[in-house]
């Protein structure tokens, strides 16, 4: 028996020693990195969702960051991901519709892409059309009204750039660039985009004090009879400020955009869109999936007296026949003040999120 064990042990030693040598020979030693998890997230939320086949590495994140700001992803070298997901605009776009390389505008507002690593539902985009982040990042490159390129062209462009060759080799140990590896790198970087340093975060940590108006706004937000915002948009217990789920919030009687229903074909899901996070509203105007509201006041007015009935309206919408819950002017002002306390001014200037190219 001992002999057998010794024999197995020797085989193991050989296998392990060979593995080490191989890695050293390839010069492929990516350094694992962790997402910088805000303190309040550590207290309240699950661990970030990192796919087992795409762990974060220092080299992968750096490559992803370079690609995120790389205009050569577009057909005419004019538009990068950051062109429509701007760091100083909450990684969204303050234009109602982003404009692609051919001067054509899209039909939905650019969705903010922070705290994606906590999207436990794994449904991405306003309409849930992507089932993973790695899948999501592939689409804008080939979208005809966005970057209007082909992945074959992008891969060829990157393959001819010695700088990118080195970055891909360092990140993935492969001299061959592929769209799958590019998607992995982009996803790694996007998962590092974390916003968790708002005044309200600091309040929860006992490091800041809310004004009386902000406190009253929180009460409106959490009051089932007034705002009832918490069912879809989180609460002090859910600092994502979204449920990452899909709802029809009473915008239209008739739909010109079916949202989730356009993807699933299910009439029960016509007009449903993903709840966006309420973080960084100070920087992410305009609002709603189609950017129809320019101001937060308009958003609050909509829920207060602008709701309209449609067959799929969410049952959580209150007194729809009267347009909504009819908030007082005082409640509206307080709610707005509270919502703005969820904005994180440190996001835009985080040096790890800036253009490295």
């Amino acid at each position: 028996m001992i002999q057998k064990i010794l024999f197995i042990f020797c085989l193991l030693c050989i296998a392990i020693s060979c593995g080490v040598d191989d890695n050293q020979n390839q010069g492929y030693s990516p350094r694992p990195v962790n997402i910088a998890v805000p303190a309040i997230f550590s207290q309240l939320l699950p661990e970030p969702q990192i796919p087992s086949d795409n762990p974060l590495t220092q080299q992968g994140v750096l490559l992803g960051r370079a690609l995120f700001f790389e205009r050569r992803l577009s057909a005419d070298n004019s538009l990068s991901c950051a062109g429509c997901h701007r760091p100083n605009e909450g990684f969204s776009d303050q234009r109602r519709y982003s404009v692609g390389i051919d001067g054509i505008a899209g039909f939905r507002n650019s969705m903010p892409i922070v705290n994606i690593a906590w999207n436990t539902k794994n449904k991405f985009n306003w309409d849930g059309s992507a089932n993973s982040l790695e899948e999501q990042v592939l689409e804008p490159v080939i979208n005809e009204i966005e970057m209007h390129n082909t992945w074959a062209n992008v891969v060829a462009t990157l393959q001819n750039d010695a700088n990118y060759l080195a970055k891909f080799e360092a990140a993935f140990g492969s001299p061959t660039i592929s769209k799958e590896l590019a998607a992995k790198a982009l996803s790694q970087f996007i998962r590092t985009l974390v916003s968790g340093n708002s005044k309200f975060d600091r309040y929860l940590l006992g490091q800041a004090t809310l004004t009386p108006t902000e406190e009253e706004g929180l009460a409106v937000f959490l009051d089932e009879n007034r705002g009832d915002c918490f069912h879809c948009h989180g609460s002090p217990s859910n600092p994502l400020w979204t449920d990452n789920d899909f709802h029809n919030n009473g915008l239209d009687e008739n739909f010109t955009d079916l949202g989730l229903g356009d993807i699933t074909g299910d009439p029960a899901q016509f007009g449903l869109f993903k709840s966006p996070s309420l973080r960084n509203l100070a920087y992410t105007a305009p609002y709603m999936h189609d950017g129809r509201f320019q101001t937060l006041d308009q958003v609050i007015d909509h829920y207060s007296e602008g709701l309209v009935y449609s067959p799929t309206i969410d049952p959580l919408m209150k007194t729809v026949s009267q347009g909504g819950v009819q908030l007082s002017l005082q409640d509206k002002a307080a709610l707005k003040a509270f919502l703005l306390s969820l904005s994180d001014p440190s996001l835009a200037n985080n040096p790890a999120y800036q253009n490295p190219n």
Binding site: I5, I8, L222, E224, N225, H231, A268, T312
Partner: protein, 259 residues
């Protein structure tokens, strides 16, 4: 070198020595799954739908667009009275197929009493302590007693004679019953123990199915009038107590099958 090898051999030996016991344990335990089924009287409810296709005991027609509920303290008690809690809590969501089954249960074959609880007990219904539930906004605000929801059952409804063009909405949400909603509220445990009786775990795979009779939420013992109680129920102490009463006979053992 010999010393290193001997040291590593000593490290390996305990694992090898444990193999036989592990094998015995593996032979003793058998996989058990608990599935959650849903019905409205005779109709199976397998997906949320916008179609108003069910009629409750009050005579109101309704749809079910959303159903989520929390089960906790899933336990198997064997013939010797030894209780094994196999799952502390589990969120069932009709729209998420992977939530409709509790897997990864391993038990020795035998007869058991199966129990679970609808919602959290007062002792376990502590605000913010379950990260996965926080992330899906399952919380109850502190002004409404804090802790977590027990159930969110939502949809549309129509009484006879109502125009079908614009049905009304309902949000039948169950939580701890709370008195004096606001900063000075007090809350009362309205979770429900579910005793599913005796089940048998046999060698091989065992599948247990539990059925929620959704219709019971609307009629037994309190006939539910949706025109009066269709929303804003979280802060309604009386409604929460009525829902707790109606929930007593909502769950039953549907099947206990073995491969």
């Amino acid at each position: 070198m010999f010393k290193k090898a001997a040291f590593l051999v000593l490290l390996v030996l305990p694992f090898v020595a444990c193999d036989k016991n592990d094998d015995d344990q593996a032979q003793q335990n058998t996989p058990v799954s608990i599935g959650f089924l849903h019905s409205f009287y005779e109709d199976e409810v397998s997906v949320s739908s916008n179609t108003i296709q069910y009629t409750n005991g009050f005579g109101t027609s309704l749809s079910i667009t959303r159903l989520r509920y929390l089960i906790s303290q899933v336990s198997f008690t064997n013939q010797d009275g030894i209780k094994t809690i196999v799952k502390d809590y589990h969120l069932v969501d009709l729209s998420q197929d992977n939530s409709l089954t509790i897997n990864d249960i391993l038990l020795p074959p035998g007869a058991y009493n199966l129990k679970m609880r609808f919602g959290f007990t007062e002792a376990t219904n502590t605000s913010s302590v379950y990260p996965d539930l926080n992330a899906v906004s399952w919380n109850v605000p502190e002004n409404l007693g804090g802790g977590y929801h027990y159930m969110q059952l939502e949809g549309r409804w129509l009484d006879p004679g109502d125009s079908p063009d614009e049905p009304y909405l309902y949000a039948y949400h169950t939580i701890s019953a709370v008195q004096n909603p606001g900063p000075e509220n007090t809350r009362e445990d309205t979770s429900i123990e579910i005793d599913l009786g005796e089940i048998t775990v046999t060698q091989g795979a065992t599948q247990i199915n539990v059925n929620m009779h959704i219709d019971q939420w609307f009629e037994n013992p309190n006939l539910w009038n949706l025109s009066e109680l269709n929303g804003l129920l979280m802060g309604n102490y009386t409604a929460q107590k009525m829902m707790q009463e109606n929930g007593q006979n909502v769950f039953s053992l549907a099947s206990n099958m073995s491969d």
